[in-house]
Amino acid sequence: MERNQMHKHIFLMRQSFFDQGLLDDQFIQLEELQDDANPNFVEEVVTLYYRDSSRTILNIEQSLEKNPLDFNKLDNYMHQFKGSSTSIGAKKVKAECTQFREYCRAGNGEGCMRTFQQLKKEYAILKKKLETYFQQTRQAGPSETACRPRMN
């Protein structure tokens, strides 16, 4: 049926996230927290993440424009950003964060900027994909059994 088709599609999409390393186990943890009391928990958290982290990204960008670079500040921002990213399981984004912090500690401004560009890219990709994912999930209806047979 179409519904099943949709669910299957969603299922595969989700699977690809993990296969491609965009998301990790933490995301599954989020999903597990979603229940009747919190039906849209995952989406809420992710939305919150994108809202909050966009501010941080802006801060980092502004800081990177300064000269000389304040690595300490950058590191702090990135630490915060990394924490949030970790919480939702954004694996690739998290990896970029770690890389960025390495460069910060080394005082490598060039490396920081490069990494940051990469980070932004990953960040945007994930955002898009998750948006699509949630959209389709909502469309498919509240049958989460397809994705999370454990729930219920």
């Binding site: 928990f41 970790t86 919480s87």
Partner: protein
Amino acid sequence: MTVEDQKSGLAGEDVARDRFPLGMRVLAVDDDPICLKLLDTLLRKCQYQVTTTNQAVMALKMLRENKDKFDLVISDVNMPDMDGFKLLELLGLEMDLPVIMLSAHSDTQLVMKGVTHGACDYLLKPVRIEELKNIWQHVIRRKKFDSKDQNKSLNEDRALYGTEDGRGFTSTGNADQDDRLSRKRKEQNEDEEEDDEENEHENDDASNQKKPRVVWSVELHRKFVAAVNQLGLEKAVPKKILDLMNVEGLTRENVASHLQKYRLYLKRINSVAAQQASMVAALGGKDSSYLRMGSLDGFGEFRSLAGSGRLSSSALSSYTPGGMFGRLNSPAGLTLRGITSSGLVQPTGQNLSSSINTLGKFQPALLPSNQSASLFQGIPTSLELNQLQQNKCTTRIRDFNPIKDSRGFTVTTSFSDSRVNVGNSPSLLPGLSSNSLVLQGNPHQVHNRGAFGSQSSLGVASLTADAFENCSGGSSNSLVHNQSNESWQGTVQSSRFSLNALPLNEPFNHDQLPSNNLSKSSTSPHIGNSSIDFPSTSAVLAPLEDSRGDVQCHEGMIGNVVHNMNYPSNQNWEEQKQDYNHNLNHTVSALNSLVPANSIVNPLSQSLDQNTAICSKSFDVSLISQLHDGALSIDQNSEVERYALGTKMTPNEDYLFEQTRSLDGFTQNSFGSLDDIMNTLMKREQNQTMLCDGEFASDAYSLGSCM
């Protein structure tokens, strides 16, 4: 069940309790909204009752409102408004709650830091639900061990302590003036702390399991502070403290960690005082003396307060105690004023001054007074005695009172209540009037002192007395102070005060202070309007002499005292006072020796007694300086000094006088109405040369053989 537990507020609580760990009340603190939301959901999933906040200060507020509201706290390490470890420390001190640290970092250093600060667990982000499912064990464990340990009322003490601590905590931020003294002290403390930490670490390594948390009750802490004072802050090592305390079931480790916190607290207070002291230092007084004064400030200020005019003679007497008062005052901010002007105070009062400085404005001074609440209390009484414009002063002091608390001026440690401190400090400044104020403010504080408690005014007196008592030399001062305070209060409470003074002295009487104090007070009345008869001062002075011997011219002692004073717990006050007195004594002796050299030390102290004078001076100075209002007091101090030195120390006198003058000038600036009063008093005093102090002076002189 889960949902019900979570949703049924209080009603559910009882139910939840029965089904512990379900329904356990957790407070989650994290500035990251995502993590917070996640944590919230996870905890609810574990069927706990969750409250979240993204601000540490809010968390503290909530916890302080009702200690029993939560069973467990989970806090992030990196937070913008407050360091997670600081919050951890505060929570540990204020309320006996298990705290779990949360961080994205798994750095060993951080984890170690968490452990040493008292965290019962350290989790890494992202947190897994499995880990959260077991956090209830920390609550059980704590409860189990707590019942074993004593202190139930500890929470209250902790609350007080914690409050002060918190305030002191915030005030540390003010420590932009890193005075030499405070720095030196910090270094000393740091060294000691390092040792402690090492010890603690050793202990941690040695003991595999978690030790039951010791609740530091008032009595326990009092013993602790007494032991520390006895040993001397620099020399206080956990092993010795433990032996001195002689408490069953207390391990060296417990003592070590408590000592560390205590030192941190003192440092915090000191930095405040240091700032104040720096103010005083500006005057050019001796740092050490000032620092000492600092602690004495309450006392010294007292002098100023008392001395504002009339106090001159009494100032002497009060001065000695004033040293204490100075401390008190300074906390109250009173002392600072007077002292700063005196500059002399600076050296000693540094510690105080810094704290007092903060208070300086009168309000800052209050802080110290809070701590030295006890000290101040004594002082306020003197103020009252001073009648000078006690009313005026009182009002001022009152203002301080509130401020004092925040300052965390340790001087008044005993009076954790800011009120107490405030009351004390302000009173010190205006000299007389302020004293009364101070006293008024701090009924709470007074109680700590016992005798003090009864009367705010007396409190001051007693405080001072106590403060003085601690200092071998100083103690006498305090006694005197009390007495003088009483006399000041004159008519009103002199009797009370003296009584208080005495009682206070008793605990601390290092040396024969009690006798001294009595004599002192008599002199104080002499001083000004207060009916205090200063002549007794001489008697007091005598003891001072003795004490002087004891006083080991430790400039830093006062500072230490201040440190001690800063220690928030009320209980500590007494001990601190002792410490303070001890320090005072040291200071006094130091001052005494210094006095001849630098009248700076305590223009006031000189007069009284070399020892006491010094103490008081420093106190006064510090107090004065701090307490802008105390400007007058400074004058008084100078007056007092002059008087004290009077006969004998003519040269000193002049010196002192000059100094006091400088103080006067200084003080004048600071205090408004008080200044006026003080100035008037001072002038009056000066003119009078009524050295009723003369005899006092002579005694002082004798006491202060240094001179």
